[in-house]
């Protein structure tokens, strides 16, 4: 019962977020600030993780391909597939649920606890539009983060493959170019857009509707990470079923 109520509140929040827009000159600043916090601020960790996980994926594929009849280019092929289809869009989104999600929940939650949201409301400002909408717009840039993750993942694989002596550069390049299905990239970016929306709204929901004090802000951040991840994993399953099979 309580779950149904929460889901209802969540959807009402999304409707309310688009109503009574804040003045553009103020909104523009908020959007730029959120782009800096949420997108630019995440590039470092995303680049780092993508590069090294790409390398690990390649090494493990290479070690499992010990049959001499299989061409070495399969290493590149397998790396590309797992990174574009799954690793970059989904795995990075889970990491972002921890990084960006808990940041959003705790910053909005702190504003709730210290009555800053009440102060906005009392001034006649639509606080949901003021707080959540700029995050949503900033996260429409999230696919760029994922493109970078894809590139660096494959690049990390290349370095690990060539310098680890598992295959030559030519074999790896042939691998990543073979049997390329453009729709797989479309599929990955459709997922990315959906996850971006989830990353902006679920943590905001947990921050905005929290009650209590500083301790509850911490609890809300944890709950927000758990729920964002759960929803991302479930939607990942549903979207894959719908788009790929």
């Amino acid at each position: 019962m309580i779950y149904l109520q929460n889901i209802g509140t969540y959807f009402l929040m999304i409707v309310e977020m688009f109503r009574k827009p804040t003045k553009w000159c103020a909104m523009r600043q908020l959007i730029l600030k959120d782009m800096d916090d949420l997108i630019i601020g995440s590039l470092g960790i995303v680049a780092f993780i993508s590069f090294f996980v790409g390398g690990v994926v390649t090494i493990q594929t290479a070690l499992n391909l010990d049959n001499p009849f299989l061409p070495k280019s399969l290493i590149g092929f397998a790396t590309r597939q797992s990174i574009i289809l799954e690793f970059a869009p989904t795995f990075i989104s889970i990491i972002m649920a921890g990084k960006v999600g808990s940041f959003i929940t705790s910053s909005i939650g702190t504003m709730r606890v210290t009555e800053q949201i009440d102060a906005l409301e009392v001034m006649g400002i639509n606080s949901l539009n003021y707080l959540v909408f700029p995050k949503f717009i900033a996260l429409t840039l999230y696919p760029f983060v994922i493109s970078i993750a894809m590139f660096l993942g494959i690049y990390g694989g290349l370095i690990a493959c060539v310098y680890g002596g598992f295959a030559t550069l030519e074999e790896y390049i042939t691998g990543i170019q073979s049997e390329f299905t453009p729709f797989h990239v479309t599929y990955a970016f459709i997922k990315t857009f959906v996850f971006a929306f989830i990353l902006a709204t679920i943590p905001s929901y947990h921050g905005f509707y929290m009650k209590g004090g500083a301790l509850e802000v911490g609890k809300a951040s944890t709950a927000s990470f758990v729920w964002t991840s759960v929803v991302i994993i479930l939607l990942n399953y549903i979207l894959t079923q719908m788009l790929l099979s």
Partner: protein
């Protein structure tokens, strides 16, 4: 005029407000006093529509608040200035940006006009060199004064202050009290102040509503609060030695 009729409010079954009715008039400083925990803050938040109440009506100049649409509520609230008990400054903005915020949101003034207005109100609350500090770098009393500056910067029609001078030294407290009274008189606005400070009561209590245990126990002005025999009020007002002496002198003066 703000007209309050029979407000009931409870939190998970515990009734905090048990039916409060009163009116707040234009151009007067209305004080709500009462012990800590008597429901002053809850009452003020009900007035502003930040809390839903189970029973009763609140009308602003004839318009019943709970019957307004969301947009009408927001338009009404654009004319409200509020000082929260905990200041509620936006901690991502500097002090000057905090004060400028309502102007930026609701007026079409140029940047220099807004800056002039911000300088003016910050001067009125006795803050001249704190423009670029962040709220976290300001003292509690400074934060309070910034909150007051932010509440009055856009010349509100209704001003609500939840303990505007708690945490201030006596001298600054009186400056703030007088400022609120001047503004109320100058712009003929409706001002509602929560307080438990007897100095404020004596300075600016043009109308006083005394809350006790969620009920309105007494109502009057600063002139007759010293004369009343209402037990609840005398207990509250004459709790300190100083006030007991004041009453003694008052009674002797009358003789």
């Amino acid at each position: 005029m703000i007209d309050v009729k029979n407000i009931h409010k409870s939190f998970s079954g515990v009734e905090v407000l048990k039916g409060i009715s009163t009116t707040f008039e234009k151009g007067k400083t209305n004080l709500i006093i009462g012990q800590s925990g008597s429901g002053k803050t809850v009452f003020m938040k009900c007035l502003l529509g930040l809390f839903d109440y189970e029973e009763g009506t609140i009308s602003y100049d004839g318009k019943i608040f709970s019957n307004l649409t969301e947009d009408e509520k927001r338009n009404l609230r654009a004319e409200i200035g509020m000082v929260f008990q905990g200041s509620a400054l936006f901690d991502s903005m500097t002090i000057a940006e905090n004060v400028m915020f309502p102007l930026k949101m609701f007026t079409k003034q140029s940047k220099s006009e807004m800056e002039d207005r911000v300088d003016f109100v910050l001067k009125r609350v006795n803050l001249i060199d704190a423009h670029n500090k962040m709220p976290s770098e300001a003292s509690g009393g400074m934060q309070k004064r910034v909150a007051i500056a932010r509440a009055i910067v856009n010349k509100p029609k209704y001003l609500f202050c939840d303990e505007p001078n708690s945490g201030l030294d006596p001298k600054t407290a009186i400056i703030i009290d007088n400022l609120i009274q001047e503004i109320t008189d100058e712009y003929q606005i409706i001002t509602v102040i929560n307080s438990h400070d007897m100095n404020s009561v004596m300075e600016i209590g043009e109308k006083i509503v005394f809350l006790k245990d969620g009920l309105k126990a007494w109502e009057g002005s600063k002139d007759n609060i010293f004369k009343t025999d209402n037990k609840a009020v005398t207990d509250f007002v004459y709790s300190s030695e100083l006030m007991k002496k004041v009453r003694q002198m008052y009674i002797e003066e009358k003789k």
